[in-house]
Structure formats: C-alpha cells, structure tokens
Symmetry: C2
Subunit: 306 residues, 2 copies
C-alpha cells in the first residue's frame, strides 16, 4: 500500500474534555468552514467527542472520556455511564466511516498548566516521530511529551489510531478561550495537514532528524493528610515552570503554613502538567520527565517504513 493511501483520512477531535474549549470551538469552526481541513491528498473530518460535557461546561458527565478506550472496556457489554457508551460510539464513528479507517488522529486538549504547545505522539511509531520532529523544526515553541507504554495511554481516545497525536496547549483556565492559543492550535493543525499532504505526494521533506522528547517517568501527588486533603501548593518558584529543569533540593511545594518542600531525587527532571486543575482528583500535582534525544536511526527506520 502506498503512503498516499494510508494517510489521507485525518480525524480532528475536540471537546474530549468538555471544559477544554479551544479544541471544541476549533472543531466548530472547521465544521463551519470544512475547506480549511481539506488538502489535495488529505481529507480532514471533525468530531466533537463529548457533546454533553461540552454543553454542561464540565470535563465529563459521569467518567473521564479519555480513560474509557481500553479494549476490555470497549468490549464490556455491561457499562452504563455516558462516557463509556460514548467511547463505543466514537470507535464506530472513527474506524469504519466511508469504508475507510481513520488514518491519523489529532486530539485537541488544553491545560491549566503552562504547557505551551505540546505534541503528544500516539505512539513511538516512526511516522509519529517524524511528524513531531517536523513540527518542532517549523515552530521552536513546540515541545514533545510522551508517557510511553503506560496503562493510561491505552485508555485514551487517541489510542484508537496508531498514527497521530494529541495537542495540549496552555496555560488556559477551563471553560474559557484564549485567542492566541486558539490561533496557535489552528496553525499546528493546519501544519499537520500540510505535512501529511506533502508526505502523501511522496515528497521527501528535509528534516534535520533531531528531536527532544520529554519522556514521562513519574507522577507526583500533592502532600496530603490521612483524610486525603491536600496540605501544600505548588511552590511559587515552580508554578508555570513546565519543561524547566528541577534539580534535587529545589523547592517543589509550599505548605499552607508557608514551609517549602524540596524535590528529593538523584538527578535533574523536567516537570510538566504542573498544577493542572483536572489532575487534583487524579492525585497528580505534576508529571516528571526526562529530556531524551531521539537518535537519527529511528527516523531512518521511518523512511524505510512501508
């Protein structure tokens, strides 16, 4: 099969979380102006993933939709929550539409953390890494984050495709739109479509094959008491410092009484998703990452991929 056939249907998904409005309103814009997501060799189509949560202005109604896509959940006939049933619907919508599978997925998210423009590849498939490298090369603000092989990844909406990425932009409060981030997100989506259009013409893009991935290694919770109540806040020196180095001994939290709590670790890490509102209930104050350089070999393999 030629690449031109493999990459031509691209699902652009917004509102997987109903209070992340940049993706939801971008999907509505693309619905109104569908020519914006068409290319000669690419057919973009949209999906508002969680319309009930979007209408309610909430992340979800019953359960986080982005944790409902594990195979065993999708096969489970006994599920009753809105999001678990919606996940099954989405699989039906994305997979066999027009007698064609969805080839690529772009799942649009936003964060209260200062994530800038973050690309989260669906997998380490060389095609995904090439795309990430391309986006990094045309926009130095783009960062690439992965939480490789975790159980959580398998439950995400984007796991329905092996090609594609989530886009996580921030900082932005839930239930709001920020015009600058809206435009930047639209630019990234269009850049992906342009890239796939070029690839589908079997044009070899000039890439410098350098890619830094922030590889998730540990989720850190807030200090809590025996009742589970948080006892400290993100330290002011760490607030909004996503992707910046955190050294052993650097302040990480500040108790409500004003006592700093330091990061205890052996080596420098790069925290992301710092103070993400939706993660308080998940027991995550931030995700620690390693800065990892991807070797040229992986890209070369990508070029040999059928």
């Amino acid at each position: 099969m030629k690449e031109i056939d493999r990459n031509n249907r691209v699902a652009i998904v917004g509102g997987t979380h109903g209070n992340e409005w940049i993706g939801a309103y971008l999907v509505k814009k693309f619905e109104q102006f569908p020519q914006l997501i068409q290319r000669e060799h690419v057919e973009g189509f949209t999906l508002l993933a969680n319309p009930r949560a979007f209408a309610a202005g909430r992340r979800y109604i019953d359960k986080d939709l982005n944790r409902c896509f594990r195979s065993e959940n999708l096969a489970d006939l006994t599920v009753s929550s809105y999001e678990e049933n919606r996940a099954k619907e989405i699989c039906t919508l994305l997979k066999p539409k027009c007698n064609s599978q969805t080839d690529w997925i772009i799942d649009l998210h936003s964060s209260t953390a200062n994530m800038g423009i973050t690309i989260i590849p669906v997998s380490d498939h060389p095609h995904n890494l090439r795309l990430a490298a391309y986006l990094s090369s045309i926009n130095p603000q783009v960062r690439v984050y992965r939480w490789q092989g975790s159980e959580q990844e398998k439950s995400c909406l984007r796991s329905v495709c092996s090609l594609g990425c989530a886009i996580e932009v921030g900082a932005i409060a839930q239930g709001t739109i920020d015009a600058r981030l809206f435009q930047q997100t639209e630019e990234i989506v269009c850049a992906i479509l342009d890239y796939l259009n070029t690839v589908n013409q079997e044009t070899v893009l000039a890439l410098d094959y350098s890619l830094v991935i922030y590889q998730g290694i540990e989720a850190v919770d807030y200090p809590r008491n025996e009742k589970g109540e948080i006892q400290a806040m993100i330290h002011p020196q760490l607030q909004s410092q996503d992707y910046q180095p955190l050294h052993p001994g650097d302040p990480m939290f500040l108790t409500f009484e004003g006592e700093p709590i330091a990061y205890i670790g052996d080596s420098v890490v790069y925290p992301v998703f710092i103070n993400e509102a939706a993660y308080y209930e998940k027991g995550i104050a931030m995700c620690l990452t390693n800065e990892t350089k991807i070797s040229k070999v992986m890209f070369t393999e990508a070029l040999r991929d059928p």
Copy 2:
C-alpha cells in the same frame, strides 16, 4: 455605641463558589489555626459557604449561591435548590451567632480574569471606603471595584452585612491553588483584621484620603449568533489587560475567523473581569468601568460617623 463594640466580629467566608479554592483553603487554614484571625479587639470566625459545591469542585450545585441573597428569595418558603436553602442557613449562621450580629464580612473569591488583588466594598458606607483607602495605601497592587446599587449586589452573599468587602484575586484557573495569590489573599485578610483592631482602639489612622474606585457601568457580552453560540473571543491585545484603559476603536474581540471587533464608545473605559470563566453562562465577556476619584469629603463624613 462605641466603634470598639461595632467592629469586633468579622466573618471570613470562603468557598462561596466551590471551584474558587484560594478562599476555601484559606478558610480551612484559619479553622486549623484560629489564632491567626484573632486580635485583641477583633474576633474573626470562618465560614465555608458552599461545602457541597467545594466537595464537587464546581461553582455551584443547583444555582449560583452568590445570587441567592435577595430579601424576597430569603423570605420565599417555596425554594427547593441546595443553594437557596443554604443561603437561608448562612443568614442564620452569620446574623445571630453568640447573640451578636456579624459586624464585618470578608468574602473571598478568585477569578480567571487578571484581577490582581481587587477589593469590592459591600457598600459605599464611609467605613468601607476608609478600609479600601487604607488597603490601597499599604499595597499599591490593591484595586477597588464597585458595581453600585445594582440588583445583582443585593443578591450577593456579602449583602448580609453593611460593612465589609469581597476580595477578588486572579488570574487563576478554577479548581486550582496558586501559592502566591494564596499568600497575598492571606496578607490582605490579616491587614483588614489589623486595621479593624486599630480602629477598635479608637486610634486615628493616618490616611491620605485618596481613593480610586473602578465603578462598573456596563457588562458586555460576547458576540453571539441566533442560537446564542459565541462567535468571537477576547482580542489578544485585551486579554489579561484588566484595569487598563480601553479607547474607542481599540480591538475588543476577535472572531473565530480572525476579524477584529473594535470597542465602540464615546470615552475611555477600564474593563475588568475580562474572560472570567463563570461569566460565559451569564452573558458577560467583561465589565466596563469608569475610573472614579473619591473626594475627601466622604472620608471626613466617615470620621464623624457614630
């Protein structure tokens, strides 16, 4: 009655909106360390106003609690929502506790708008203006906002007292805590208690009697289509520019298609609550204010007040 008797019981209220966590967690801190809100001549006490919404991480369960305090609502025996009933409970809790009325109220709020540290006096009572002038004088970051005499004011929780203020801090995403804003809010609460303690000793504080009030004149909605869907975002040049001058012709909104929409008006205004998440459903994109200087006369009257 001496002022020392009039000003000694101060209600410190947090979590009126359940997803505004700075106030809620500050109340929890004060509950744990009650000595922090005691002074020789001031008795502070706390109230977590909407515990169910706080537990749910939402602004409210059925209805905005801060719109439930109109006299006719409080007298209505047929109300059934959680917040309408909670409003009645709060009136019972605040008014007759320990055979004494609540003398002052401090209602702690936060905003996704860049409100900095905003004081919203309960009324134009000279005591409230004096307090606002004092807080402005010790902290130049403090701004004073009023929406005088509106119907909405009468429905706010703070309307149960004629003395006191709301404190509105931001920008902060709903359902998060920002350590710096938390500490700044605590400092302002303590400054108010210190001030009242001094006033209660009948000490005349040196005030320069200058006070700028940002006086609300108009709430502006987002451009919407016939279905009520928003058609534009806050313009990037206006985003986060709360309290900065907006001149006729300056860009106000940006449509999703990228067209700027200018402010049409006769004179310069100072928008606040720009892009407040909770106000989308209320049809408010921002509140326009006038910058108003309060004359010395009003403070002099305050000094003659019994």
